[in-house]
């Protein structure tokens, strides 16, 4: 069953002194409940725009977005967006624990003390036990992203929308976060939509990979990875199927990109 559906979504940005630009052209995509889907595309193809529209943070110029069957106008309670700029998305005046607790404090029946207990549980889940009293600026980039993840999880969303969440950390930290991500996804039955320009990341983590064209972007095709679950995101890289997918998608990115927009 589809939990997130984009139907013929268009996005036109008003031109600055010039003609308006069509950034997204009748894009349709259906995300199944519980799947891990990556949206893969070249830089500047509007991946973040797509994710922001799906999150209700940006309005489409035409078409519709449905989450759990309801048409979206504004951020839906089922989905939480995790930002690429994790450092800027945290509240710098709150400790790590209070940042996470803030996501649940406003719920009915959750006291401040209970929120902190819940926060500590989420911090443990992302491997940050003992860092609750630190401030975000005292942590490394990878750890800050874990805090943002813990905060998102604390809100108990059904869908996580992740905008290049691992692009700003070093390679080893990224693999670490991949493992954590798969573990959390499996344990919690989340639906994850991940935007990335990293082919290996998309293949290693996903059930399906949606390939985006250059602007005006639309879905070029959707590839089922067919890789086994549960899966180790490092070991899976040595399987023939992984290499085959990597080759196929890289080829597609390198050749397809320029043609699709019509200005190649």
């Amino acid at each position: 069953m589809a939990i997130l559906e984009l139907e013929a979504v268009e996005k036109v940005f008003p031109g600055r002194g010039g003609p308006p630009t069509l950034a997204m052209d009748r894009l349709s995509l259906s995300v199944r409940e519980g799947e891990f889907l990556s949206i893969l595309g070249p830089s500047g193809c509007g991946k973040s725009t797509l994710l922001q529209i799906a999150a209700g943070l940006m309005e489409p110029s035409a078409g519709s977005v449905r989450v759990a069957g309801r048409t979206v106008s504004g951020p839906p309670p089922e989905a939480v967006y995790v930002f690429q700029q994790y450092g800027r998305s945290l509240l710098p005046w709150r400790s790590v624990r209070d940042n996470v607790a803030f996501a649940v404090e406003h719920r009915a029946g959750v006291s401040r003390a209970k929120a902190r207990v819940l926060a500590d549980a989420q911090l443990e889940a992302v491997g940050l036990t003992g860092f609750g009293d630190h401030f975000p600026w005292q942590l490394s980039g990878g750890m800050q992203q874990r805090v943002a993840l813990a905060r998102a999880l604390a809100a108990e969303p059904r869908i996580l929308l992740m905008d290049e969440p691992f692009s700003a950390v070093d390679a080893l930290t990224r693999l670490d976060l991949h493992r954590l991500m798969l573990e959390l996804w499996e344990k919690r039955g989340l639906t994850v939509v991940l935007v990335t320009h990293d082919v290996e990341e998309a293949v290693a983590l996903s059930d399906r990979v949606a390939l985006l064209t250059k602007r005006p972007s639309t879905i070029a095709r959707v590839v089922e990875t067919g890789l086994p679950r549960p899966r180790d995101p490092v070991e899976v890289r040595e399987t023939p199927r992984f290499l085959e997918l990597r080759h196929e998608l890289l080829e597609a990115l390198l050749t397809r990109g320029p043609k699709a927009g019509g200005h190649g």
């Binding site: 939480v80 967006y81 930002f83 998305s89 509240l91 710098p92 406003h106 005292q138 905060r151």
Partner: protein, 253 residues
């Protein structure tokens, strides 16, 4: 701390040197004693005022005006600045009025305020609050408008709602700007309090400075002036301390 104190030494030594020079100049007859008594004579008056407790009444009268006016003016400035920064309708409604009121030296508003509010504390506090409001308002507006888009979108995707976002995201994020405005306003608050006291001829440090001058109690006039300077210094130090506590999280950003 020790290093901070040490760094003050040259500046304090310079002031001491100036005072010594003044003392000498008065003794040598280079400055007319009637207009500028020697610092030692002013110091004697200060000691009297201090030991007799005479200083407390006027001091508290002025401080009361400053604190109440500063609190009221800051509250109004923060509330209006936030509203104008957040809702474009509020901005369009209020911006022309604010731009018209802002350049008026608030001291010039004391005489008309006296017509409506009389000579009492209500008028004085209103004058102080008016002077405080605008710098706080303008800085708050700037701070609220400058809040990081990513932070605001985080609040939206988590479904935090407008009230919660304003109180827990927008205001703390704007706090460095708000406090900068309040720091400017603190000086203005003291100026307006003293001026209102002088114009009404009632109570407080401002009135005393003028009254002593008119009564040719020149040493007393200087002594009250010194007390006023110390009040300004203390208020600034207190504010600086509060500011650094409120912005502890900013230290390494």
């Amino acid at each position: 701390m020790a290093r901070r104190l040490l760094s003050l030494v040259p500046g304090l030594a310079f002031i001491a040197l100036l005072l010594a020079g003044l003392e000498w100049a008065v003794d040598a007859g280079l400055v007319r004693r009637a207009l500028m008594p020697p610092p030692s004579a002013i110091w004697a008056v200060l000691q009297d005022l201090g030991t007799s407790g005479e200083v407390l009444g006027p001091l508290f009268a002025t401080l009361r005006l400053v604190f109440i006016g500063f609190a009221l003016g800051s509250a109004v400035g923060i509330a209006l600045g936030t509203a104008m920064g957040w809702w474009s309708a509020a901005f369009r409604l209020l911006e022309p009025l604010v731009e018209m009121m802002r350049p008026i030296p608030k001291a010039a508003l004391v005489p008309p305020l006296m017509l409506f509010l009389g000579l009492g504390d209500t008028m004085k506090i209103t004058s102080v609050a008016l002077a405080v409001t605008f710098p706080v308002l303008v800085n708050t507006l700037q701070g609220v408008r400058g809040v990081d888009r990513v932070l605001l979108d985080s609040a939206r995707t988590h479904g935090w709602g407008t009230g919660r976002t304003l109180r827990h995201v927008v205001l703390p994020a704007s706090l460095p700007f708000i406090l900068a405005g309040m720091r400017t306003s603190l000086g203005l608050a003291l100026i307006l309090a003293v001026l209102a006291e002088m114009l009404t001829g009632q109570g407080g440090l401002g009135f005393l400075i003028l009254d002593m001058q008119r009564s040719f109690l020149i040493r007393q006039m200087y002594a009250w002036l010194v007390i006023l300077a110390l009040v300004g210094l203390a208020l600034n130090a207190l504010f600086g301390w509060a500011e650094s506590r409120a912005l502890h999280w900013q230290q390494r950003n």
